[in-house]
Amino acid sequence: MNKKAIRDEIIHISGVNPKKCMKCGKCSGTCPSYNEMEYHPHQFVYMVESGDIEPLMHSDSLYKCLSCFACVERCPRGVEPAKIIEAVRLMTVRQQGANHLKSDAIPELLDENLPQQAIVSAMRKYSK
Amino acid sequence: MSMNEFKPKIVAFCCNWCSYAGADLAGNNRLSYPADVKIIRVPCSCRVNPMFILRAFQKGADGVIICGCHPGDCHYTSGNYYTRRRMALLFSMLDYLGIERERTRLEWVSAAEGAKFSQTMNEFVEAVTALGENKRLEDLRCKE
């Protein structure tokens, strides 16, 4: 896929219009995982809009988003950065062999109290 | 230019505040358009009664164009919004009756758009000329 096609696909599956962004930075101002991220929520929006998506797809930042929706809740322009991040993540993990979380890696992560939903949601978020 | 060349009759209704002034500006700037276009001045595009349009066709006009202020810029605040609804329905009905849709047109031309006025008229005349004479509205029962 070329740059534009990837951009269009991300916009399509996220349902987000990055052009609405007024670059206020509130998403990054509110993000609890900001310091764990290489690319921050506002950069995801901006870089998707400008088609500079490759670095995002290769960045660990994709897996640092907590899906807490604080950015979605607080964005004054209704841009919903978390949905963009999820769309980029999906674009990445949907590629062949690009699962971030491999099922054989799971057992060693488990402890006896871990609720199922932690595994189920992680599989859903990080794997095809 | 051949004498037999088809010259359409075009009636243009222009609102006094925007489009008529736009036509004047086209004149000031010597932006030519075919003389087939004859302008009737109305206070607002919302003054144009569908009856005027049908009457023009009945009397042999080959095309009718209505020009008004851009939506939101109406001198009377909302006149052109009514025009837009009326003409959307009327033009759709004429199309439904099998009358060539290129013969009717609504265009927003501001007082500053002399060039747009001239260009619009050139295009419209060209489109109507391509259709030829208006037979359908002039005489419905003409037996071919």
Binding site: C24, K26, H42, P76 | P50
Partner: protein, 664 residues
């Protein structure tokens, strides 16, 4: 049958170069009704006009067609010419053979042919013209100003200065509005009270101005020059004519727990109060919901201490009816509620305040006597964070905020930041901004001074979340330039809340049939060329009711609105545009279609008795056009299925005649 004279102008060579003017004059001679036709080099010249006048007299012309430049150029000229020759000015029609013919066509045969057709159409129209006389209506030489903030005050003073009586209706107990709550004004930093209160005194002392304070407009009827307005004077339980404003009652009242709205609830007032020392009128008002005497008949202290005998517990609301020639809306603005922006913890911490609250905190007459102290513990804040654009510039789908820029926040925030640093140099001041918008005289210089001279930290980014922890406000924000998230432990956070029109504006607009935009700002008659007039004739706009404005802009608009009002009131009679709609009662069905499309509310209905051919009578509902209000757009004429509604000067049969003449 009309006797029509045709006058074809050469306009030097402007027309004559592409139109054979003689041939046009000759051809038009043959048109029905034409008794005279000629051409001349410059019809608009004195000689040309004299020629027209002479022809009118000599040939007893009843109608005149001038083939010349655009009617937008000289229609008025030729109408005057006709009038001075004794015929009705509206018996003149112009065929535009210059802008719309000679200037856009290249060869003489084409130009001439078209000019003839345009002439014919004008002749066809003028044959159906009827003399028109503009309607006249008297003008009540009194203006009403709704709202007593700086906009209303300035408008009233300017109108009164021209010698016309003005009434101000203010819903609060005193005039002064928002400006009275403000501490200093940007970019000059003069004290708001010092420049406002003298104006308030001017209003009070001006014998042309009456103030209806603690009053609201109840109903408006009538039209430009002739409005009938009902004003409700709310009971304040104090006789204004007797109260001296000594303030003794406000010191003795035992009910001390009344939130003080003038200080935005940051302190308490008594149940009987004078909002602030310079209030106009300086009259006490009782807050009925808190007054023990009014609630349960137990107290009466204020009446006992009042030596003027001004307290009147039995006072009722009063309705005043007055006539006005013009109405000025000056209803102003309010900051929006911060209720829905609790990521900034406005409801969770007393130390998160709005900018208007900050104004009161820094005002010498405010709850802290001008010392900048935190509302929660009265301590001096060492770190202050200002957040810009709270609720402004939101997307349409964001139900919490407004789509527009509130315009004044950048500057007042710079002012607050600068003043804080000036008075308390030990304080760290941060301003989070998206853009700093400073288009105004000396505005950007002012903002730069805040940064360069006063050391205010401007950070491009936005606060995302504020966590009140202990006695600190943990401010989590982004710094977009550094691409960092920063955390500041602040003592005070000031939110630059978006502003919105006062809630009273919407019902008022309905009463005035004045239009509003989706944000409830009043719409102006033309966004560029008629910015202080409402599309509804006789209704004018002053100040922030039309859109966000700072004080200098408000004052200049207030003056502009006043000059429009003065222009109106200076007339004894209003001459209407005679090209107005009129309904043929015999054909009107009373169906209300015309009324619904009229942008001016000019159409009303009357149940009228008609004598039928069989000598019985029948009552029918028929439309009536108020000619003083109608602007002549013609929307109603097309909405009317029976054709009862027609437009003078552009009647159905006139336009049809033009169509016929062109298509012939």
């Amino acid at each position: 049958m009309q006797r029509v004279g045709v006058f074809v102008c050469w306009c030097g060579s402007n027309i004559a170069a592409t139109v054979d003017v003689k041939a046009v004059a000759e051809a038009l001679k043959a048109e029905p009704g034409v008794v005279f036709s000629t051409d001349y080099q410059y019809m608009c010249s004195q000689a040309g006009q004299d020629m027209i006048k002479e022809a009118i007299r000599e040939h007893q012309l009843t109608g005149v067609v001038i083939c010349s430049c655009s009617p937008r150029m000289h229609e008025a000229t030729f109408r005057k010419t006709a009038e001075s020759a004794g015929i009705n000015p509206y018996m003149v029609e112009i065929a535009n053979i210059r802008e719309q013919c000679s200037w856009v066509h290249k060869d003489i045969p084409t130009g001439t042919e078209k000019a003839i057709i345009l002439g014919r159409a004008a002749i066809a129209k003028v044959s159906l013209n009827a003399p028109l006389t503009p309607g006249e209506s008297p003008v009540t030489k009194r203006a009403l100003v709704i709202g007593g903030g700086i906009a209303g005050i300035q408008t009233a003073l300017d109108i009164a200065d021209a010698g016309f009586p003005v009434d101000i209706v203010e819903k609060k107990p005193t005039i002064g509005g928002k400006m009275a709550q403000i501490d200093k004004t940007f970019p000059t930093l003069d004290c708001a009270a010092c420049i406002l209160t003298p104006k308030m005194v001017d209003v009070a002392q001006n014998d042309k101005i009456r103030i209806f304070s603690y009053s609201e407009v109840e109903a408006v009827s009538g039209f430009v020059g002739n409005f009938d307005v009902k004003i409700k004077k709310k009971a304040r339980f104090v006789d204004e004519t007797k109260c001296t404003g000594c303030g003794l009652c406000t010191e003795k009242c035992p009910q001390k727990k009344v939130p003080n709205d003038f200080n935005l609830g940051m302190d308490m007032k008594r149940a009987i109060y004078i909002p602030f020392a310079q209030a106009v009128p300086k009259v006490a008002t009782i807050e009925a919901d808190y007054c023990n005497m009014l609630k349960n008949g137990k107290c009466g202290v204020c009446a006992k201490v009042c030596t003027a005998g001004a307290i009147d517990y039995k006072q009722q609301d009063e309705i005043i009816e007055e006539k006005y020639g013009a109405i000025v809306v000056a209803t102003g603005f309010n900051p929006i509620s911060m209720e829905k922006f609790d990521e900034f913890a406005y409801n969770q911490s007393k130390d998160v305040i709005t900018s208007l609250e900050f104004e009161r905190l820094t005002n010498a007459a405010g709850p802290t006597a001008g010392k900048l102290l935190r509302p929660s513990d009265g301590k001096h804040p060492e770190t202050i964070v200002f957040v810009q654009c709270v609720g402004s510039r939101c997307d349409a789908c964001n139900e919490k905020g407004k789509e527009y820029c509130s315009k004044i926040c950048c500057m007042y925030t710079a002012k607050h930041a600068m003043l804080t640093r000036d008075k308390y140099p030990d304080t760290d001041v941060y301003v989070f901004y998206i853009d700093v918008r400073t288009p105004g005289k000396n505005f950007d210089e002012f903002y730069r001074r805040a940064v360069e001279e006063y050391g205010v930290h401007y950070i491009k980014g936005m606060v995302g979340k504020i966590l009140p922890e202990g006695d600190k406000l943990k401010v989590r924000a982004s710094d977009l330039i550094e691409n960092k998230q920063i955390n500041i432990d602040a003592d005070l956070v000031v939110l630059a809340a978006a502003i919105e029109p006062d809630k009273s504006a919407r019902p008022l607009a309905t009463m005035l049939t004045a239009s509003m935009d989706t944000n409830d700002f009043f719409t102006e008659a033309h966004p560029k060329l008629r910015p202080v007039e409402s599309p509804t004739a006789g209704v004018f706009l002053s100040g922030a009711c039309q859109g966000p404005k700072d004080i200098p802009e408000t004052v200049s608009q207030a003056g502009a609105a006043a000059s429009k009002v003065i222009g109106l009131l200076a007339k004894d009679k209003l001459l209407g545009n005679p090209c107005v709609a009129g309904s043929d009662e015999m054909m009107c069905n009373g169906c209300s279609s015309c009324e619904r499309v009229c942008p001016y509310g000019a159409i009303s209905y009357l149940d009228k008795e008609f004598r039928m051919p069989d000598r019985t009578t029948k009552v029918r509902r028929v439309a009536q056009v108020n000619e003083a209000v109608c602007q002549g757009c013609g929307a109603c004429t097309v909405a009317c299925p029976s054709g009862a509604m027609d437009l003078k000067g552009f009647k159905n049969n006139q336009i049809l005649a033009e169509v016929d003449a062109i298509c012939r």
